[in-house]
């Protein structure tokens, strides 16, 4: 087991820099997820940690030792690949044993470890089969098993679930989380799927264009996104953004108005904002509620016209357009009587609002995060 430290890690392909000086500290036993859109450098970063890509600059420390120049096999890591990368010409047992045989481990120790991993991952009936004869989920478990038998200091996962269907993905998510609870190793997990990140991680690292956007626990990232990018990336359906202008702002809150001139009060620390500043008001779909009377005008909110409605029975989604044509999504529990074409007022509670500076997307500090999270709408 080991702590993993990244100090100013840089990767260049020729003249192109794809990873720009990453600083990160992953504690011993932590489940850390790298998340970001494709091309953000998360896989490259993982492969640099694994030793499969050379490190162009900065230091990589595992367990306190600098390992930049160690070969992949010497770093004491194990990796689960997106394509599983099972050796197709070997049986499941041989797949599991291959890495151990390579370090000339005694036969009985190999047998013990393979048996244990097979039991843990319910692979015992398939040990003599070739990967071709396994289902997707079984292959995935073999790939994990191959990492487990190595008893590595750190587990690396490179989008391991992206080749599975939706249902299996949920199951495997649970199995990997359970594995982490059971063996408690440091794990680094790369995904582009924010749901995987939210459900599994102790710590999420959001990456974009080879830079870290934000590091934090899943709930932290949900509640206090540092900027517009993270706010849009974490949470599903994604956060609604409404372009506004600041009317007044101070340390106790702010008031903004949308394109139609309707004033909306927002419970964020407004220091640093001046009247007239352009901002984006951010509200998550689950924090919007249709008001009963669009004409009252008394409520804190915006007027929209309802487009598509998806009624799933237990929950409903409304896809609306605001006065300026901007899409606004509403996610509400239960069923609704609202119909396509209706004009409704969407109530916005100030303590659920996010405010981002239009100039650089940086978020204003929210005031009542703890209380808001506990409150019902």
């Amino acid at each position: 087991m080991a702590r993993v430290e990244l100090q100013g890690l840089v990767k260049d392909y020729g003249a192109v820099r794809v990873v720009h000086g990453i600083d990160l500290d992953i504690a011993d036993g932590e489940f850390c997820v790298f998340v970001g859109p494709s091309g953000c450098g998360k896989s490259t970063l993982l492969r640099m940690i694994a030793g499969l890509e050379e490190i162009s600059g900065g230091d990589l420390l595992i367990g306190g030792t600098r390992v930049n120049d160690q070969r992949a096999s010497e770093r004491g890591l194990a990796m689960v690949f997106q394509t599983y990368a099972l050796y197709p010409h070997m049986s499941v047992r041989q797949n599991l044993a291959f890495g151990l045989e390579n370090i000339r481990m005694p036969k009985d120790e190999i047998a013990r470890r393979v048996g244990e991993a097979a039991r843990m991952l319910q692979l015992e009936p398939y040990l003599e089969r070739r990967p071709k004869a396994l289902s997707g989920g079984q292959r995935q478990r073999v790939a994990i098993g191959r990492a487990v038998v190595r008893e590595p200091r750190v587990f690396l996962f490179d989008e391991p679930l992206s080749n599975l269907d939706a249902e299996l993905r949920v199951t495997m998510r649970g199995e990997i989380a359970a594995l982490h609870r059971r063996i408690g190793n440091t794990m680094i997990y790369v995904t582009h799927d924010q749901v995987e990140a939210m459900t599994m991680a102790d710590k999420i690292v959001v990456l974009r264009d080879g830079r870290i956007e934000q590091v934090g626990s899943p709930i932290d990232l949900y509640n206090r996104p540092a900027n517009r990018f993270v706010a849009g990336f974490i949470g599903s359906p994604r956060m609604n953004f409404i372009p506004c202008t600041v009317v007044e702002a101070d340390g106790a809150g702010a008031v903004v108005e949308d394109a139609t001139g309707r004033a909306i009060s927002v419970a964020v620390d407004g220091r640093g904002l001046n009247p007239g500043n352009k901002v984006d008001l951010g509200v998550r779909p689950e924090h919007l509620r249709p008001g009963t009377d669009p004409e009252s005008g008394a409520e804190n909110g915006i007027a929209v016209s309802v487009g598509n409605i998806e009624q799933l029975g237990g929950e409903s989604y409304l896809y609306c357009s605001a006065a300026d044509g901007r899409e606004v999504t509403v996610h509400m529990p239960g069923q609704t009587g609202i119909r396509r074409g209706d004009t409704v007022m969407l109530a916005i509670r100030p303590e659920f609002c996010h405010l981002f500076r239009a100039s650089d997307g940086v978020a204003q500090q929210r005031l009542h995060v703890g209380e808001a999270a506990g409150q019902a709408l």
Partner: protein, 347 residues
């Protein structure tokens, strides 16, 4: 008028186009297999039967009898016409249109019979001695061993060296990779027949004239093999190699334990090609191997057919023995061979 080339099954009955197609194919089968079958059949005939004109289909030989007073056995004839009709007589010699004949039971009485009045008596005689002589008098096993040695060694080295080069070209990024690849592909354009003279200089300077290695070395770095294997190895995912590296595998282990086994289909195609190339090769061995004890089978066959006194009976038997190994291999691997060749487009 072309419609018979395009017919498809699944219609009822057998129409004219089908007859034409099968007629063509039937003729093709006779033309393709007939000569080979004729060779095999002939190889079981005695030298005497081979000299006969017109030849008979089956290996028949004139029946010979011992007649006292004559050192050699004499051919036996049935008399079909004339005053002696119905008797069986042995022929001593032919004089013009008449033959001097004798009854084996009464060796003193010589009869003159017109040659059209007699017909040779034959019996089936499978001349297996054609084959045994090939082994005893003609050193067949030596040539067979020479050919086998060259084929096996060259094939092993071809597969090993070509696959190593293909691995490097398919799975590593290094400066000069494109240059090397282009260079190898460029040699596809220079068939060995173009460089006979200078190649002979190189081989003779290395002291490899009349050595099997003089045939093996120039043959093994085939651009075709490198190209074929590289294309195949490109389809092996890099993740697999990375996984092996994470599993403590050295690069050599990655090559030997992961890439080679996974390239088995392509390697098999190359093995088949290489065996075919080396076993059948003629011009280069003809130049390099001049002493009969290092001859390959093909050279030995060629040398024997050039010698006037060599009997057809032994030559035919030896030819059959030479085509036998390839035929057996083809019989078993027909599907793979034709598939491999159709897919790679090389021979």
């Amino acid at each position: 008028m072309f419609s018979w080339l395009l017919g498809r099954r699944g219609r009822n009955g057998f129409d004219l186009t089908d007859w034409l197609a099968f007629g063509f194919l039937g003729l093709g089968v006779v033309l393709m297999l007939g000569p080979v079958l004729w060779l095999v059949l002939s190889s079981f005939k005695t030298e005497a039967a081979l000299q006969e004109f017109p030849p008979r289909l089956m290996p028949l030989a004139p029946v010979m009898v011992e007649v006292s007073g004559h050192a050699e056995p004499l051919p036996l004839y049935a008399i079909t016409d004339g005053p002696e009709a119905g008797r069986e007589l042995a022929q001593i010699r032919r004089i013009g249109l008449n033959a001097q004949m004798v009854d084996p039971a009464r060796p003193d009485e010589v009869l003159n019979i017109h040659i059209n009045d007699r017909e040779a008596i034959r019996s089936v005689a499978v001349a297996t001695e054609n084959y045994t002589t090939v082994f005893t008098r003609f050193n067949f096993l030596l040539y067979f061993w020479n050919s086998t040695f060259i084929t096996v060694v060259a094939t092993i080295l071809t597969v090993l060296f070509n696959s190593m080069a293909a691995f490097a070209l398919a799975k590593y990024r290094f400066t000069g990779r494109t240059a090397v690849f282009v260079l190898i592909i460029a040699t596809l354009m220079i068939p060995p027949t173009i460089t006979l003279v200078p190649l002979f200089l190189v081989v003779s300077q290395m002291g490899l004239v009349n050595s099997h290695w003089g045939v093996i070395w120039p043959a093994i770095a085939t651009p075709t093999g490198v190209f074929l294997l590289r294309q195949y190895m490109l389809t092996i995912p890099d993740d697999l190699l990375d996984a092996a590296r994470m599993d403590h595998a050295s690069e050599w282990r990655v090559y030997w334990k992961i890439v080679l086994p996974l390239s088995a289909p392509a390697l098999a195609v190359l093995v088949i090609f290489s065996v075919m190339w080396r076993w059948n090769e003629f011009l280069w061995p003809l130049i390099v191997l001049n002493r009969s004890e290092v001859f390959t089978l093909q050279l030995a066959l060629n040398a024997f057919q050039g010698e006037l006194q060599t009997s057809w009976s032994n030559l035919l038997a030896m030819t059959v023995l030479t085509l036998l190994p390839i035929t057996v291999v083809f019989a078993f691997l027909q599907k793979y061979i034709t598939q491999g060749i159709a897919q790679s487009g090389v021979k």
